[in-house]
C-alpha cells in the first residue's frame, strides 16, 4: 500500500513531463493521482528539477551514469525503461556486488523521490530487444573456464589473446579461431603458420617474420611478429620485399605457457568449437 501511494505521488509530480508521452488512459490515471495527492503534488513542485541537481551530485560521477546519463560503466539512463518502483528500490538499496551503491544512508526518502521524478523524465520508448546471437553462448565448464583464463591471461605479456580475437576479447591479428574445426586444436606448439612470411626491408634492418594485412602497388602493411606484441607496420611498397618462406613457428608465440597449460587451452578451444 505504501508503495502504491509512493508511485502515485511521484507520478503526480511527473505529470507535466509525462503528458506528452502518455496515452489518454494513463492521463486519466495521472489526473486521478493528482487529485488524490494534491497537497503532496503541490509541495513537490519542481521535484524533477531538484532531482536533476541530486542526480548531478550523486549519479553523474563520470565512472557511473555520467552527466547526461550516457557515460561510464553503469547502465545508460537516457531512454531507459525502468519502472518507477524499481528505480526507487534500486536507488534505495543498491545492487550488491555491483557498482550500484545504496542511497538510503545519504539521501532522505523525499530526495530519492525527487531523483526518481527526474529519472522518469529520461525514460524512453521501450527499445526492441537486442538480436539474440545465432548460437547462444554455453556456460563455460570449469575446465573450459581455466583454458579461457590462460588464453586471455593478462598477467603474461604475449598471451594468446594478443594475436587472436575470440568471443569479444583479444586482438584480431592471427587466424579467426572460432571457425576452425575442433580437431585442429591439438598440440598448439605445432600449429602450422602458413601465412607467415619474411619481410626483407631494403634498409639496414634485418628481415623479420610477419603476417600481411594489405599489399597494394603503393604500400605494404604487415604485422611484425618479432616481439610479444604484434606491430602493424606500414612500408612504401618499394621499401620492402616479401618472401613467402619463413622460419617462424607458432611455438615461438606459445613459449610463455607450460605444456600442461597449452593442453588446457587446446581443450578449451576444442570444447568451444565442438558440437
Amino acid at each position: 500500500m505504501i508503495r502504491v501511494a509512493r508511485s502515485a505521488r511521484i507520478l503526480a509530480r511527473c505529470t507535466t513531463r509525462i503528458r506528452a508521452r502518455c496515452s489518454t488512459g494513463i492521463l486519466a490515471c495521472v489526473a486521478f493521482a493528482c487529485i488524490a495527492f494534491l497537497p503532496s503534488a503541490q509541495a513537490q513542485d519542481g521535484a524533477a528539477e531538484r532531482g536533476a541537481q541530486l542526480y548531478r551530485q550523486n549519479c553523474a560521477v563520470p565512472y557511473c551514469h555520467g552527466p547526461d546519463g550516457t557515460a561510464g560503466r553503469a547502465p545508460r539512463l537516457i531512454g531507459h525503461n525502468y519502472s518507477l518502483n524499481g528505480m526507487f528500490k534500486v536507488i534505495s538499496w543498491g545492487i550488491p556486488g555491483t557498482g550500484m551503491p545504496e542511497f538510503t544512508s545519504r539521501l532522505k526518502t523525499r530526495e530519492i523521490d525527487d531523483l526518481v521524478a527526474f529519472l522518469m523524465t529520461l525514460r524512453g520508448t521501450p527499445a526492441a530487444p537486442p538480436t539474440a546471437p545465432a548460437v547462444p553462448p554455453r556456460a563455460l565448464t570449469a575446465d573450459a573456464k581455466a583454458g579461457r583464463a590462460l588464453f586471455f591471461d593478462a598477467t603474461r605479456t604475449g598471451a594468446c589473446g594478443t594475436c587472436h580475437e575470440l568471443d569479444g576479447w583479444g586482438v584480431p591479428v592471427g587466424p579467426d579461431l572460432s571457425v576452425l574445426p575442433a580437431e585442429r586444436f591439438a598440440d598448439l606448439r605445432e600449429v602450422m603458420a602458413r601465412r607467415v612470411v619474411t619481410v626483407r626491408p631494403k634498409s639496414a634492418e634485418a628481415p623479420f617474420p610477419a603476417l600481411v594485412l594489405e599489399r597494394t602497388e603503393a604500400q605494404v602493411r604487415v604485422y611484425d611478429l618479432t616481439g610479444p606484441l604484434p606491430v602493424l607496420r606500414t612500408f612504401a611498397a618499394s621499401q620492402v620485399a616479401l618472401d613467402a618462406a619463413s622460419s617462424w613457428r607458432h611455438e615461438q608465440a606459445t613459449r610463455i605457457y607450460a605444456n600442461g597449460e597449452l593442453e588446457t587451452i587446446a581443450r578449451y578451444l576444442r570444447w568451444r568449437n565442438g558440437k
Binding site: 541537481q53 548531478r56 551530485q57 550523486n58 553523474a60 560521477v61 563520470p62 565512472y63 557511473c64 555520467g66 552527466p67 557515460a71 561510464g72 560503466r73 543498491g94 550488491p96 556486488g97 555491483t98 557498482g99 551503491p101 545504496e102 544512508s105 545519504r106 586471455f152 593478462a154 598477467t155 605479456t157 589473446g161 580475437e165 569479444g168 576479447w169 583479444g170 586482438v171 634492418e205 611484425d224 618479432t226 616481439g227 610479444p228 606484441l229 604484434p230 606491430v231 602493424l232 607496420r233 606500414t234
Partner: protein, 559 residues
C-alpha cells in the same frame, strides 16, 4: 634534439646568452629544465618544469599581447586537453578522437593531419588525449582504444601501431602523452579504477617492437608481491596514466603510479600494495626498478601518485640536492632525492585536509582517517584531488612552484565489490562537497618548494583545471573555465592581462620562438571526466566546449 637551437635562433644569440647567464646565476639545473625556442616534451623538457626560458614577452609589454593565429581542430568531443609539442618550429597537436595536426608554428598553416580510426568500444576513462611525443623523426600518439601509433614527422603518414592491450578486456586505454627516451617511446595506461594491473611499456621507436614492460604490481615470486594478499595483485590498479620525467645524467626514468584498486576499499588487499601510490625510478635501458618511494601505503582515498614529477636541484638543509618535486593529488607535495629516492620533505599545499593529520620527518603518514563501511565520511581533499592532473610549473627565477589548487572535499561511501577483469572497481562512491566549515574554492598559488611557504595566491571564479606555464619574462600563464586566458606576475600574483577565448580551459599552455618572435599557445575547449562535474559544483553557466588552439604574440615590428 632537446637542446638544439635552430639557425634562426643564432641571430638572437645575445638574448640566449643573457638568458643562460641569468638562469645559471639562480640555479645550475636551469639549463636542463628550461625550454628554449622549441617545446620538445610534454612538460617542456624532461625535467617537467613547464618553464620557458624565453623572455621577449615580459611584465613591461605583456599588455600588448595579441592573437597571432587560431587553429580550430573540428574535434569538439571532450575539449582540447593536450600540451602541444613544438619541434623545429612545427607545432604538433592532438585531440580526444586521436586526430593529430602538424602546424606551422608561426602562421598556423596546416602541414598535415592524421585521424586514427578509433574503435567504438572505449573504456570508462573515455576519449581524452593529453598530447603527443616527438622524437627520432616520428610523432607518437596514444589512443582512447589503447593503441600506440607512430607517424612520420614530415608527412603524418602512419609508420607503425601497436594495440598495447585489448581495451575491451583490460578496460584500460591511453590518455596521457607518451615520452621519447633515447631510441624508445614509453607509454603508460589508465585502468586504476578498474580491475586491472598497471604497467609501463617501452617500445623501439623505429619498429614499434616492445623493449620492456614494467608491471607496477609485482607478480608472485617478485619482491613486493607479499604486499598483496591472495589474488588481489591481479586487479590492484596501479595505473600509469600520466607522463613521467627523465634525468639523462642519472639515466633514470621517473614515473608516478596511481591508486590501488578497489579505490576506496582495501578489504581484499590488506598490505602496503606496492608499487601503487609510489614514485618509481627505472633504468630506461632495461625497465628494471632502481628505487621506489611509496607516498601512501594501502591507499583508500583514490589519491594516485600519478601527477607530474618536477626534477629540480634544491637547497635542503644547507645542501643542494638533486630533488624530485611531486605536487600530488592528496594535497601534499613530496620532495625526494631523485638519485636515491630518499624522502626529503613533504608539505600540504591545500588548506583543507583531514585524510591524515600530517607527515612525519621520515615520511610516515600520521593519523590516517579512512573511509569506513556503513558510514558516510567527508574527507579532504576530494577524489578529484587537491589539484587535478593539470600541471604545476616551476620557475628557476623565483625558485617557486605554481600550483592550481582545489579546496573541495568528498563524501566517501565504501561498499564491497567483486573484481571483474576490466570492469570498474572503485569499491565505493563519492559525492563532491565543500570542506567542513569552509567554502569550496580554487586558486593559483606560488609556494617555496622546500618549506611549502605560500608566497601568494589568486582566487579563481570557479575552479582551475588548466595547467600552469611560467616564463623567463616572470610571467605565469593559465586559463579558467569561463574562457579567460590570463597572465599573472610571477613574483606578486598581480593579474597583468587576460583574453576571452570563448571556451573553457582544460589544456596546457606552452611558449616557443620562431624567427626571433615569441609565441604563447594555449588549447581551449572544456571537457574531461572531471570537467563534466562542473555543474554539480558550481552555480552559473556550464563552461563552453570547443577545440581551438589560440596563439598569442607581441605585435610585429619594433617591440
Amino acid at each position: 634534439m632537446w637542446h638544439r637551437h635552430s639557425h634562426v635562433a643564432r641571430a638572437f644569440l645575445p638574448v640566449l646568452v643573457y638568458l643562460a647567464g641569468l638562469c645559471f646565476a639562480l640555479t645550475l639545473s636551469a639549463q636542463t629544465g628550461a625550454s628554449g625556442n622549441d617545446w620538445p616534451a610534454y612538460g617542456g623538457t624532461y625535467a617537467a618544469w613547464r618553464y620557458s626560458g624565453l623572455d621577449q614577452v615580459n611584465r613591461t609589454n605583456v599588455q600588448k599581447l595579441a592573437p597571432a593565429w587560431v587553429f580550430q581542430t573540428g574535434d569538439y568531443e571532450n575539449g582540447l586537453q593536450a600540451t602541444p609539442i613544438v619541434s623545429g618550429g612545427v607545432l604538433y597537436l592532438s585531440t580526444s578522437n586521436a586526430w593529430v595536426f602538424a602546424l606551422d608554428g608561426a602562421t598556423g598553416r596546416l602541414l598535415w593531419e592524421y585521424h586514427f580510426p578509433l574503435s567504438k568500444s572505449i573504456p570508462l576513462y573515455g576519449k581524452q588525449n593529453r598530447g603527443v611525443a616527438v622524437g627520432r623523426g616520428l610523432v607518437f600518439l596514444g589512443t582512447a582504444d589503447d593503441h600506440l601509433v607512430a607517424l612520420d614527422q614530415r608527412t603524418g603518414e602512419e609508420v607503425w601501431r601497436v594495440n598495447v592491450e585489448d581495451s575491451r578486456q583490460c578496460g584500460c586505454n591511453i590518455t596521457g602523452a607518451p615520452l621519447v627516451v633515447k631510441d624508445m617511446v614509453i607509454t603508460g595506461v589508465t585502468g586504476g579504477d578498474s580491475a586491472h594491473r598497471g604497467y609501463l611499456t617501452a617500445f623501439d621507436a623505429a619498429t614499434g617492437r616492445m623493449r620492456w614492460r614494467f608491471h607496477t604490481i609485482p607478480a608472485p615470486g617478485e619482491k613486493g608481491h607479499e604486499t598483496w594478499p591472495g589474488e588481489s595483485w591481479r586487479y590492484g590498479g596501479g595505473a600509469t596514466w600520466m607522463t613521467g620525467s627523465f634525468d639523462p645524467d642519472l639515466n633514470l626514468l621517473y614515473w608516478g603510479v596511481g591508486n590501488a584498486a578497489a579505490d576506496l576499499n582495501a578489504s581484499l588487499r590488506r598490505g602496503d600494495n606496492l608499487y601503487t601510490d609510489s614514485i618509481i625510478a627505472l633504468d630506461p635501458d632495461t625497465g628494471k626498478l632502481k628505487w621506489h618511494y611509496q607516498e601512501i601505503p594501502q591507499d583508500v582515498w583514490d589519491y594516485d601518485a600519478s601527477y607530474e614529477l618536477l626534477l629540480v636541484d634544491l637547497p635542503v638543509e644547507g645542501r643542494t640536492r638533486k630533488a624530485l618535486v611531486h605536487v600530488a593529488k592528496s594535497g601534499f607535495t613530496w620532495v625526494l632525492d631523485r638519485t636515491t629516492g630518499e624522502f626529503l620533505t613533504a608539505w600540504p599545499f591545500v588548506k583543507n585536509y583531514n585524510w591524515i593529520t600530517g607527515i612525519a620527518r621520515d615520511g610516515k603518514l600520521l593519523g590516517r582517517n579512512e573511509p569506513e563501511a556503513g558510514k558516510v565520511k567527508l574527507l579532504c581533499p576530494s577524489t578529484i584531488g587537491g589539484k587535478s592532473w593539470n600541471q604545476a610549473s616551476y620557475s628557476p627565477r623565483t625558485g617557486w612552484v605554481y600550483v592550481p589548487v582545489l579546496e573541495i572535499c568528498s563524501d566517501l561511501i565504501v561498499r564491497d565489490e567483486d573484481p571483474q577483469e576490466g570492469r570498474g572497481f572503485t569499491g565505493g562512491n563519492w559525492v563532491m562537497k565543500p570542506p567542513p566549515g569552509a567554502k569550496q574554492e580554487s586558486y593559483l598559488a606560488a609556494f617555496d618548494p622546500v618549506s611549502g611557504k605560500r608566497q601568494w595566491s589568486v582566487p579563481a571564479t570557479t575552479w582551475l583545471l588548466a595547467s600552469v606555464l611560467s616564463t623567463a619574462g616572470d610571467l605565469i600563464f593559465s586559463g579558467d573555465p569561463e574562457g579567460n586566458f590570463f597572465v599573472l606576475d610571477a613574483r606578486t600574483g598581480e593579474r597583468l592581462w587576460s583574453f576571452p577565448t570563448g571556451a573553457g580551459h582544460r589544456g596546457s599552455a606552452i611558449a616557443y620562438s620562431i624567427g626571433g618572435r615569441q609565441y604563447i599557445a594555449t588549447p581551449t575547449g572544456w571537457g574531461s571526466l572531471i570537467g563534466q562535474a562542473h555543474a554539480a559544483l558550481w552555480p552559473g553557466p556550464v563552461p563552453r566546449g570547443g577545440s581551438a588552439l589560440f596563439v598569442f604574440a607581441l605585435p610585429e615590428g619594433p617591440r
